[in-house]
């Protein structure tokens, strides 16, 4: 126990430096589960599950999305340039390019988000809560790879301060933090997160533009071992548009989509899009982890799928434009439905909190989201807005479920 003695020795004084102590406490309880015992009245033994473990399982479930997302940033970049178009060709370049894009996003998200969390925890004098572990892991996955970091920093700060701390911290927020962060970018800086030009990184002006890391550090390294290198100034191929399947579908229906992307491309995720949402099988691995451990609500996932499918079928029947005629099952190949279902809708704090309420909540996310996606020309994808919309309605849904319970009890008397 030498290490723990060292940790105990460096503990800062709580009164003299509350911020340092909060910080210390956060890291210490991360390294060691504390030695607190149950009180003398009430339960004497406690379940081995705590909030840290709950949160970390969600983060673990999205690790495959991180792996693939990183690689796909690079892959899409080189496909646009017409270089290394095979999936595994130029693997080292794609990976390095992905990391160069993703790591700053990840770091900025966490420095800003956790920094605010720590500061509020110190100010309020309570322990650091784990809520931002999941939000912080989700935010990079739902951003476009080229998002300027200062915009990211502002949106994370907005989401954490206005979305969470203003309501009292972890467990009290009404809106999903990660989505609030994204929606902030979406409305404040729409050109950075919509249209065809933002989903493929580093090709903004029609040529590949690289930074110091690419040209100096890694090109030098790759050259020295004889591997292929980044080629600054390479033009994009003529056929490149950068459009996502949803953009294509909105313009020309399923045929327009399949002209550019195959269904298996969409399924496996080698298409442009937000960083982590493109690969369906890897999201399904996450879904499996979340459901088999019982951490996320299967009720929300199932009902959201039903809601989306029902609306898509209704739109098929209506069939007034090519987008509506996209076969309902193909709607799930495009866009971020699965990612939103697995990681966003199931956030327990902002979802409905009763089991019956979860059915209604999930169903309407699917239903409303599909309406936004297909019928609203201004928004290419619907889940972000649908989930935030239903976040607001979740307390109302719960209210009616509880009222039913109450009136049932009254009637019984």
């Amino acid at each position: 126990m030498a290490l723990i003695d060292f940790f105990k020795k460096i503990e800062p004084d709580k009164k003299k430096s509350p911020f340092l102590h909060t910080l210390y406490d956060g890291f210490f309880t991360f390294a060691y589960t504390p030695d607190t015992v149950t009180s003398g009245k009430g339960v004497h033994i406690r379940d081995g599950m705590d909030l840290k473990r709950t949160m970390v399982f969600v983060v673990l479930a999205m690790q495959f999305c991180y792996l693939f997302g990183t690689f796909n940033i690079g892959h899409q970049h080189f496909v646009a340039l017409g270089q290394h178009t095979g999936l595994l060709e130029g693997f080292h370049l794609k990976l390095v390019h992905g990391l160069i894009k993703l790591l700053p996003i990840f770091v900025v998200t966490h420095v800003v988000g956790l920094g605010i969390e720590f500061w509020y925890a110190a100010r309020k004098g309570h322990a650091i809560e784990e809520g931002f572990l999941v939000s912080g892991a989700l935010i990079p996955l739902i951003m476009p790879p080229d998002l300027p970091l200062w915009i990211l920093a502002i949106s994370v700060a907005f989401a954490v301060i206005v979305g969470k701390e203003a309501f009292g911290g972890t467990g009290m927020n009404i809106l999903n933090i990660a989505l609030l962060c994204r929606v902030f970018v979406f409305f404040a800086y729409p050109t950075e997160i919509s249209g065809d030009q933002v989903w493929v990184s580093a090709v903004a002006d029609g040529v590949a533009n690289y930074g110091w890391w690419h040209t100096t550090v890694f090109n030098g390294f790759f050259e020295s071992i004889g591997w292929s290198t980044f080629q600054p100034g390479s033009p994009v191929v003529d056929a490149f548009t950068g459009a996502t399947p949803l953009g294509l579908a909105a313009a020309g229906g399923w045929e327009a989509v399949t002209d550019v992307y195959t269904t298996s491309q969409m399924w496996w995720g080698t298409i442009p899009g937000s960083i982590g949402e493109s690969s369906k099988p890897l999201i399904l691995v996450g879904v499996f982890i979340l459901l088999s451990t019982g951490i996320a609500s299967w009720r929300i996932m199932v009902s959201m799928f039903i809601g989306g499918a029902v609306m898509a079928m209704l739109l098929n029947i209506w069939g007034a434009n090519p987008f509506m005629e996209v076969p309902w099952y193909y709607q799930f190949y495009m866009g971020s439905f699965l990612f939103a279902m697995a990681f966003m809708a199931t956030d327990p704090v902002t979802a409905a909190s009763t089991n019956r309420g979860k059915w209604v909540y999930g169903f309407f996310i699917g239903f409303v989201g599909m309406i936004i996606r297909v019928l609203n020309p201004a928004y290419p994808e619907g889940w972000m807005l649908a989930i935030l919309f239903m976040n607001v309605f979740a307390p109302l849904i719960d209210h009616y479920v509880l009222q039913a319970n109450i009136s049932k009890r009254l009637k019984r008397a």
Partner: protein
Amino acid sequence: MITLALVAALFLLGVILQVADNMLRIEAKETGADKTGVNYSIFPNFGDMFSPKTPPFVGNAPYFHLKRGFDIPVEGVPHSEVEEAPRGNTFAIQPPNFIGMSPIPKMEVAVGDEVKAGDHLFFDKKRPAIHYVAPVSGEVISIDRGAKRSIARVDILADKEQKHRELPSFDEAEGSREDLVNFLLDTGAWTLIRQRPFDVVPEPTDQPKAIFVSTFDSAPLAPNLNLAVRGQEAAFQKGLDILNKLTEGTVHLGLDARGDEMPAAVYSEAQNVQLNWFNGPHPSGNVGVQIHHVDPINAGEKVWTLSVHDVLVIGRLFTEGRYNTSRVVALSGSEFKAPRYVRTYQGAKIGDLVKEELTDTKIRLISGDLLSGVQKNEEAFLDFYDDQVTSVEEGDHYDMFGWLVPSGIRPSVSRTYATNVIFSDTKIKVDTNTHGEKRAFVVTGQYEEVLPMDIYPQHLMKAIMANDFERMEGLGLYELTEEDLALCEFACTSKQPLQAILREGLEEMRLQG
């Protein structure tokens, strides 16, 4: 043409069946027969078709298969042998055990007095009719005072030969209910009855809607109550007969249908009571859960509950003609060298019971079970209604990255511990570590998973915290006491003190009247 006639005939038959079914149901509801849980519809219950088969010994009595709940597999289950020679030298009655009692009861004895078992010790100043009596005969050796001169404990050093107070006469055949109530008040047996809501000793003027006795305890390491009645069959049945005189309603007995073995015959063949069988994980043995399924408590209604031990004491008033608190107490938990049962009297000193029985680790002793008992030490005494001393190792140790890769197996309802899922029956050595820090409510739906009642515990807790009386009442506060929420508190990811919050709400409602 023939097909059309066939379809019409089938349709007609369907309508007739449906109407008949509805009429049966309405009739069952009017007479109150549907409350017993028997399916009075002519169609089989959809749920019944898929639930496991009813055990054969249940017969036609109502049978409840509760699916939600959790059995925590804990090491230290007591062996089913009872050490019959009574243990213990010192016994105590502790006024704080009785919720709502005035903190300074009026003493009827002084230090140094000799008392017989059943002699009055003190009475509640708010309700002077209710006498609290000596569990054993002996000398009053001390009257301990707590904060603000409240009386915390009255200790009695027991005689070697137990002497019993001569009871007032009561004509069982002729006596009215009022006479019986007065008799129970005078003998002290009244204090053995607990009233729901609030878990308090009932008012002498009250009429309960029904009386419930659970004949099994499903909590982890709980005592086997079949052992408690062995050789006391007549007293138990007599106790039930007496309870029948106290209520216009029904006396309900909750029976254990969890195993393949039938419970003791005195339970399953009890007379003049309604038998209700319960199968399923803990808390199926909690009387509160049983009440919820058989005849739930509504606002303004009162239900009485008794433990098996208390029914025995009441029965013995008539079969033996004396107040005899002899009871079987379980010594359970991994820190006993040989967990087993001993015979003693009510309110025994814990040190007397556990002497030379414990291992050498740092131990917490509990009066009651692991989920809703109270921490004690060897100098302290078993609480009034408790029949169990539980030992558990103190868990005041750090665990490196314990939230991710714990150093030992921990009990958990969560499926994130693969070992708990695969080896779900393996007994685990538990300790008192909280395995994490207190947090705000984040995870939803987890309490409902372990509480087989139509109640939303998390919303009820929030209603209590917000002091929303109407909502507390509406969401079923009256149906719960601490032990019913104990498993939810165990499972709580946010480590919230649910039982303490619940009691806060109950107290507020009780004081509102």
